[in-house]
Amino acid sequence: MFADSSMDKLSPPYLKDKGAKLVVDAVSVEFDGLRALDQVSLEIATGEILGLIGPNGSGKTTMVNAITGQLIPAEGRINLAGYDITGLPPRNIALLGVLRSFQIVRLFSNLTVSENVESAAVAGGLSRRTARRRAQELLQEFGLWDYRDQAANALSYGDKRRVEIARALAADPVFLLLDEPAAGMNEVESDVLLELLAELPVQRGIGLLIIDHDMRLIMRLCHRLHVLASGRTIGEGDVDTVRRMPAVVQAYLGSDAYA
């Protein structure tokens, strides 16, 4: 009687077809008159990794919030494989296959590690049994199997980050937006994560958007980069091109000089 929670399930399976695109078209976001994003456009295709970089306060997290429906853009459209998803509630966007992680880890702290991952699969419409099997695969893949019965709040920060990514993957995303996945990880943990993330687009056919300040990780992982500064696009293209752009160099050196 209480077992079925797949109301309003929207997820069209053909979204996962190769070549599906998430298109952000001239999106602006305002907070009390302050323009956090100003006419930013970007595109992610399935099977690729896009790095979203920029100094602190440049609007990277705001972009993720706008795409996943936590914020409603003041102008511009967001389009998923031909569907206009602008202004949809976060839940519907998630069910359409756009999942995210958070800059500050948001796990379900009283749930076990396994339940955290299962819950995302269940939210996507799976039975508990199937969800548990999917969680088992993901936990083993992410090296979290030994912690499966521990409460999520008992884990180290780096492990929590991995649980959050495993949880998002359990919802079977078409596009996955990761907000600083390597923050708080040491170099070894970050390298392990890098390998896991690098395989995702090929293995699962999903498109990844990654925000991170760890340039080593970004340069090695991303196929393309999109650079924001003060809410505006100041550069985009493949890694080598972007790295040499004068505006990008200046934005980074400028912010570092003040830091």
Binding site: F2, S5, P89, P90, F102, F108, N110, L111, S119, R128
Partner: protein, 363 residues
């Protein structure tokens, strides 16, 4: 593989470990045949159903609900109207609508009906409230309790107004109460482990993250609230057919705080906590009541001792909230305690230790 089975062994173990002592208690009480003990134990089971019902909503959603006892009243009155003998209805409920005045059902049918009426009322009333979180949700649930109470006091045709309604057939015995309570233990555990229960607990821990992975916050809460009201209605019907006469004041603040206190002290996160809290507070209450009576009869103090139970409950609640805010039982159900977990994973541990030793001996 055991972990891909539909129900985890820990869950079954929890249900068994909670139900067996409860059934055992009923047997012992039945054998010793002391009227007072039987009465106290029957009320313990009825209170347990109410506490479990509150746990289903409050424990899994994390939202404090004051309205619970209001639904207990709905169940009690619905069941009363369906069971008071036709020849007594003229006296007990003179203004009752003709359709209902000629109706008389078996109390057992009426108990289920009482629970269903409470669930139906909750279904209709609560959906708009489910969008609220935190303080706003708590305050509206309190308002809902006041509204339900006011209706019970003023809807004379059904409730006999603020006066005592009498004439309910006595139908709730020790075993019926025990059996119902054990069933509800199972229901509460299964709900917690269901898809809705899992997602509701996710929403409780982080609403934003749960919505961002596709959880429908208000629908999940709504389902929990309806089941919770069903259990409150069942508890109310059982109580009505145990006590046989009552007035609306039975379903108001005093009972609300007793049930809430039991859950908060036991620990609202778990079904085990609900059981532990109910038993602990009942034992404490009865001990205090006996002490109070003894002191008064012996006239040790210059004045009569009154209100000891209320004062102690209040102090216990404050102490628990300060010292152990999540209650006596924190996060783990009985079947998930470390001692049993060790049992489930012993094989794995043993294996890894042997492997480690082998590696060390190689070095």
């Amino acid at each position: 593989m055991s972990n891909t089975r539909n129900i985890r062994p820990q869950v079954l173990l929890t249900v068994l470990l909670l139900i067996l002592p409860l059934l055992g208690l009923a047997l012992v009480i039945d054998i010793i045949e002391v009227n007072l003990a039987e009465r106290i134990t029957t009320l313990l089971y009825i209170n347990l159903i109410l506490v479990l019902g509150l746990q289903v909503y409050m424990g899994n959603s994390g939202i404090l609900s004051f309205a619970h006892i209001g639904f207990m009243g709905v169940g009690a009155y619905a069941s009363a109207v369906l069971t008071i003998p036709v020849q007594m209805k003229g006296l007990a409920l003179p203004d009752l609508y003709p359709v209902l005045a000629s109706a008389q059902f078996s109390p057992y049918v009426a108990m289920i009906a009482g629970a269903l009426v409470a669930a139906t009322v909750a279904t209709v009333l609560s959906y708009p409230l489910m969008r609220l979180s935190d303080a706003a949700a708590v305050i509206t649930s309190f308002a809902l309790l006041v509204v339900l109470h006011t209706i019970m006091v003023h809807w004379s045709a059904i409730t006999n107004g603020p006066r005592t309604l009498f004439g309910l057939p006595k139908a709730t015995g020790l075993y019926l109460a025990a059996f119902s309570a054990c069933t509800m233990v199972g229901v509460a555990v299964m709900f917690k482990e269901s898809r809705t229960g899992l997602l509701l607990r996710a929403v409780r821990d982080d609403e934003t993250a749960a919505a961002a992975m596709g959880a429908h916050v208000s629908v999940l809460r709504w389902r929990g609230f309806i089941l919770s009201a069903f259990m409150a209605g069942l508890g109310g019907s059982l109580w009505g057919h145990f006590i046989t006469s009552f007035s609306p004041s039975a379903f108001y603040l005093k009972e609300t705080f007793v049930i809430l206190g039991m859950l908060v002290i036991g620990g609202s996160l778990t079904v085990t906590g609900a059981v532990v809290g109910t038993v602990t507070i009942t034992v404490a209450f009865e001990t205090l009541r006996i002490t109070e009576n003894a002191v008064n009869i012996a006239q040790i103090l210059p004045m009569r001792l009154v209100g000891l139970t209320e004062i102690v409950l209040a102090i216990a609640m404050i102490a628990i909230l300060i010292l152990r805010p999540s209650g006596i039982v924190r996060g783990a159900e009985l079947g998930e305690l470390a001692v049993f977990q060790r049992f489930f994973t012993r094989a794995m541990h043993a294996k890894s230790t042997i492997e480690k030793q082998q590696e060390e001996s190689k070095l």
